[in-house]
Amino acid sequence: MSLRMGARFDLLRGFVIAVLLGGGWLGPAGAQEPETAPATGEEAGADNAVSLTASLEGETERESFGDAERARYDELIAMAPRWDTLESLELSQIEVALGKYDELIERLEPRLPMDPILADARPSRLTQMLLRALARSQLAVGRRVDALETYRHLGSQYGDLLAQARAGVLLEQAGDRQEAVAFFEGLIDAYNAAPRLNVDGYHAVAIACRQLGREEPALFQDALKAFDQAIEASRGREFGYPARIDLANLFLDKYDSGQARASLEPVLDQDAPSAEALLALARIERFDGQPSVRAIADQILERNPRHVDTLVLLATLETEAENGAAAVEWVDRALDVNPNHLPALTLSAGLALQDGNLLLFGQRQARVEELSPGNAAFWVELSKLAMRNRLYPQALDFAQRAVAADPLSWEGWSEVGMNQLRLGQIEDGRASLEKSFAGDPYNVWNKNTLDLLDSLVQYRTIPTRRFELILHQDEADLLAPLVAEIAERAYDSLASRYGFEPATPIRIEVYPRHEDFSVRTVGLSGLGALGVSFGPVIAMDSPAARGIGDFNWGTTLWHEIAHTFTLGLTRGRIPRWLTEGLSVYEERQGPEGWTDEPSPDFLSAYADGRLHGLTTINEGFVRPSFPNQIGLSYYQASLIAEFIEKEWGFEHIVGLLHGYRDGYDTERVFREQFGLTLQEFDDRFWSYLESRFETALPSFRSVSVSVEEEGAEEEDPLSQSPDAIELPSPSAEGDLEVAAETRPDDYRTQLAWGLELKRQERWEKADEVLSRARDLFPEYAGPGSPYHLLAEVALAREDNDAAIAHLQGLIDINEYDYDAHLQLAELYKERGAIESEADTLTRTLYIYPYRRTVHERLADLAVAADRPLDRIQALERVLALDPPSRPRVLFEIARSHEQLGDLEQARRAVLGALELAPGFPQAQDLLLDLLERMGDDS
């Protein structure tokens, strides 16, 4: 086992993760490194020379970000300063800040030719600053060759080390690694030769070390040292800020957002941070999953609407939200400014490919190759995009192209490895990740995943007809038969419904530690999901990974297998909302009557108009705007599937999938299947919801209105568990009774009044009111539902028949309430209802299968029902749960096999019993008896 440790970069920090269920992880930092160079050294002071009143919080009263700069710009233009004055320098820096690159170039380029003989002036500090501004502007509009020349000129004629470093980076991007390395090594020589350097000098050395670190990771530590020296040399003054920004970006590239943020803090403390500082902050916020990224990007564009890296960032955000059209708009804006911007060209290529526009893709690819031969980042980004779109084989193919183009692309190797793992190529995946980790030992995703792979020795592989189960050795004996049974049933059901059979075996990995599942899925702990399907590979929490009743693992498995079908049928070209909606919908077709019931939150969200229509439904999944919106979006999407099947038939769902498979967009496939525009479909769907929740909806509408009328801003208390409702004060009680009488059709009022009556032990009245509440919203059996309360009332009245009816009603639509299942089973037991008790207890196995007494009881019930096979299965599960006497259980299994006439299995089982307990008299007798009957005279 290799040791994977970080040095100064802290490997594990508290990350907040944005995840696509059924999709995947967006990657550590997203797009390629920003192309725009931060302002350098003394430029930075001028970059912020104009006092601004704007702040990051963006108060409504503040001046627009950049207003002061624009005002000063107008003043300077009016002054028409000579090109070689301080005013000209100030103007050039404001031009860069405002994105007036072309104006700057037009003004300065004729005056600053690269041939020193032709120059209007001899090298001076002023011309050096002007040349730097010129280089930045040339780069910003895509004149990469000219920018390189300007930087070279600065290096050779002005001894400008920082310009030399920038030139090296451009050379490397242009595919001239050899010359770039010569530049970087020259900078390191300069560092070693000089007793001390200035801020820019140290900054340049840091950049050199960072770039050389690709081949020698230890150099990243030297880069940190040089950055520290640059910052120290600046003594806290603003011309140290560019080094801080680059340092922050380096930390972020090494997955340490905390250090990145700390490095950036002094830069952000100033009144008007530069675009580069804000962009670095946006990247950090995105890395940490914070929602403020867009606001920061907007702020940058407010000052500089042509800031290309920011435009690309916004395009990336839209891409993640599966808003392809919006993404294209942003990326086109970026390319309008800078047609040679590598990340913009890359994203444009990815979007073109996504859209099936192979011509444009080819053009973009050719352009990137021309500008930057062997550019691995191009393929890495395409790989990530494909992964986000659940096109894992394609993602692997692109990642492999990345490492073919540049074997030093550690991110490329990481993508290769991760996608191999997603496709079930475990050993190849491990090898690729090892390679990536050797080159980039700071990658926490790789480290965690490799650690997890090391722990797979504790897992057993159990083949079934069409699946390969990977189960932890501690629970493999218990779970394997249960998982296999559900998986095979799901496959049969789904294959029949969709007319499609995914390739087998499908690998199902079940993790008893949620952290391990999380790492398997996204490389980090902290994932909130229960399961994930990559198509041929499914990973999920085992029931041990969560608290009892947190989830029903049977429905989770069914859900993920459904993903495997819909991903496979569409070759991954299915929108997130639809694959999730169908998976939830398919849960309801499961064997145990599983269901996903609507919650009060869902109806409130619908009543308040907070649900998205089809055109923006993905927003609810990837960019939630209110708590639990993702969960509600899942349910909404499942209702769309339900609506389609009821209205047009299931074959139209399959038709939709075929349309997506063939590359058509949502608008087209919906028009073809239903003859409706998306808006028309939405209208009909909303009508469907109106009728489906006809009795319950008015309650949620009326409360929404009344809450609004009363000026309350918080969420409606009655949408939560009644236990949380603080009732009553005497007056409130009276009010409640009056309210209940005047609003007999209001679910939540009836529920609250019923709860109060129950508290007062007015059982008969409580039963009446709570029954009314249940009838108003019969689909809801979640926490605090009328079903729970009615069962409690019935038990208090010692009316077990009624309690059974209420609890049965509850578990019929609530598949995860473990206690309710057990309570109902106990009532059935008292009544002697063997079949019902067995059925109820069997359902609990999909919630929490680790309670041995449940299996023992099921074994006993199987005897009562004369079902020896069921008894054997129950006893085998008992055996997996460390019973006090394994020999006794094995003996009972042997007897059941004997009862079934399977003497050989009986012999094996009794041998197992006697192996552990050779003096077990009954087992001895059974063995001798069996051998005699089998004609074995040993």
């Binding site: 006090p884 006697l914 050779p918 003096g919 001895q924 007798d925 001798l928």
Partner: protein
């Protein structure tokens, strides 16, 4: 028990690899220490009562028992208050009455503590330290068997001090540092009282079976209560002064680990002690011991044998054991139907 029926078959002890000779008698010292409050007083008393009654029902003569509690007035069968002096005196009294090959159980129930580098069981009046127990147990001759169970908190410190050849030492905690009150004694007593711990279904609960059962139940208790486990019991029976949390009846892979002896010592009269001593039975017993040894060896080599070979050999041995045990059962003397 009628001691006149005893037959000295010391040779058989070696043949069986069994520590307890046939006809050997079991003695017991059960000490319920200082409770400190009503709940603990009640709990300690109840646990000791369960163990005493389990011992009696398993065939231990009341005269061979000493039961000491904080409040001797609670039950007429209690022999005295569990003070240091009384404990030592009772131990010496039992020792004097024991003969070669007899078995002594000492079970301590109460609070433990650790101070001045010594582990203690808290008693009314002065406590007894592990060192003082070592001195007191010197009164038990080395050819007597000893099962010493300290179920108190911080009892782990006793193990290293008392470990020795022919001794089974059980502590409720793995070290003197685990100082929270323990639930181990409740389940340890239940293992004998309810007999649910009889894993090998031979009709007897061995020390090892009780230890395993209690351990499992302790784990379940902490899980059910959603608590972090603060007690980890240890067992040592190979005299190496190091306890094991997961001993096995095979004594580990090579038979030198913990568990081998504990698997063969039970509370009360063993099957072996109940078999009538006839020359025929002695021969059967000797053969049975040999078969058991072969079986243990075979099980240890399971991983290295082809599956079919293993089960063929296993079946052969088990069939012979079954037939032999049938013969012993049909003898009708002790007629427990249980293997030695």
């Amino acid at each position: 028990m009628n001691r006149s029926n005893r037959t000295a078959v010391l040779l058989l002890l070696a043949l069986f690899c069994l520590p307890l000779r046939s006809g050997a008698e079991t003695f017991g010292l059960f000490v319920s220490g200082l409770g400190g409050d009503e709940n603990f007083e009640e709990s300690f008393f109840e646990t000791s009562r369960l163990l005493v009654e389990a011992a009696i029902s398993a065939g231990v003569r009341e005269e061979a028992l000493a039961w000491l509690t904080e409040d001797p007035g609670r039950d007429a069968r209690i022999d005295g208050r569990s003070t240091r002096e009384q404990v030592i005196e009772s131990l010496q009294s039992l020792s004097r009455r024991m003969e070669e090959g007899d078995l002594l159980w000492v079970v301590l129930i109460g609070h433990g503590s650790y101070r001045d580098q010594r582990s203690k069981i808290n008693l009314p009046g002065p406590d007894l330290t592990d060192e003082q127990w070592t001195a007191a147990l010197a009164s038990v001759p080395p050819d007597r068997q000893l099962v010493f169970v300290n179920t108190a908190s911080a009892s782990g410190g006793f193990l290293e001090t008392l470990s020795g050849d022919g001794r089974v030492i059980v502590t409720a905690t793995k070290s003197a540092g685990q100082r929270n009150s323990t639930v181990f004694p409740t389940f340890f007593a239940a293992a004998f009282a309810e007999r649910t711990a009889d894993a090998d279904q031979d009709g007897f609960v061995s020390v090892l079976e009780a230890f395993d059962y209690a351990n499992q139940e302790v784990e379940r208790h902490y899980e059910d209560q959603n608590l972090l486990r603060t007690e980890h019991a240890l067992l040592d029976d190979n005299g190496d002064r190091t306890g094991t949390r997961d001993p096995t009846s095979l004594g580990g892979e090579d038979g030198t680990g913990d568990g081998l002896l504990a698997a063969r010592l039970v509370l009360g009269a063993s099957a072996l002690s109940r078999i009538e001593r006839t020359p025929e039975n002695e021969a059967l017993i000797a053969r049975r011991a040999d078969l058991q040894r072969q079986l243990d060896d075979l099980r240890r080599s399971k991983a290295s044998l082809p599956e079919k070979d293993y089960f063929d050999q296993l079946q052969g041995l088990l069939v012979e054991i079954a037939r032999l045990d049938r013969s012993l059962r049909s003898d009708g003397s002790a007629a427990t139907g249980d293997s030695p």
